[in-house]
Assembly symmetry: C2
Homo-oligomer: 144 residues x 2
């Protein structure tokens, strides 16, 4: 495909293809840890929010249906990476929280992804990367 093709001007198409390139790279980087991109994303949020996070909130954060998140949390719990704990502020509610092993695996996954993405971005200057990051944050978090 030539980059003067009409669809190469379409931002949605470019985002989808660029996302696909990164997802494939991340998927390969995470495979040795037994994680896929979606399960890693759930683990990352559960690990980064120290107090734990509800499944409903995880669904919003990761952009999946609540039922998909429940299945991913089940899988991560079976692997000993997260646990469901009672919310101390609402005893009827459960929070998903990373175990010590889960936090370690999350950090290792983050390092592996960063290294693999560095390869894709090798020809893009740090200033340009920061700019791309800022532009995308503006799209994803319009009020952020």
């Amino acid at each position: 495909m030539h980059d003067d093709h009409p669809l190469a001007q379409d931002l949605g198409f470019l985002l989808s293809r660029a996302s696909g390139v990164f997802a494939k790279t991340a998927s390969e980087a995470l495979a040795p840890l037994g994680l896929r991109v979606r399960s890693y994303s759930v683990l990352a949020f559960a690990s980064d929010e120290k107090a734990g996070v509800t499944q409903r909130r995880l669904a919003e954060l990761v952009g999946l249906d609540p039922s998909q998140v429940v299945a991913l949390v089940d899988e991560l719990e079976a692997s000993g990476l997260v646990k469901r704990v009672t919310d101390p502020t609402d005893r009827r509610s459960k929070l998903v929280s990373a175990t010590t092993k889960g936090s370690r695996v999350r950090d290792e996954g983050g390092r592996r992804i960063a290294e693999a993405q560095g390869g894709i971005m090798a020809d893009v200057s740090p200033a340009t990367r920061a700019e791309l990051n800022a532009l995308l944050r503006q799209l994803v978090f319009p009020k952020g």
Copy 2:
């Protein structure tokens, strides 16, 4: 989600979420035409390459498996939007080419998507849009 969250710094995650925002918008814009994002992408390539395009090439362009492309072409052919024609340069090969109706629907789809995406991008200046477009093209077409 706050945009100072660690995952909000992850380019792969941001691309995936931004792509999701655009895909949802495009999907809603295309629904009245009976198209989904994937079938529209196939139609767009078949329509934009005047001589027609092989299914193998379509798979590369759209980033799908050949079997998925065959199913999408079957669907578009049943709707009268594309046809399979013999490649004049290789009579054993078939090219996918848009019908007149298909080209009209492709143009209408492009207009609808552009209008809907304009809403998402309302707060982003044209210069910034052009910059984002150029950066993504650099990622998706590294030699382009």
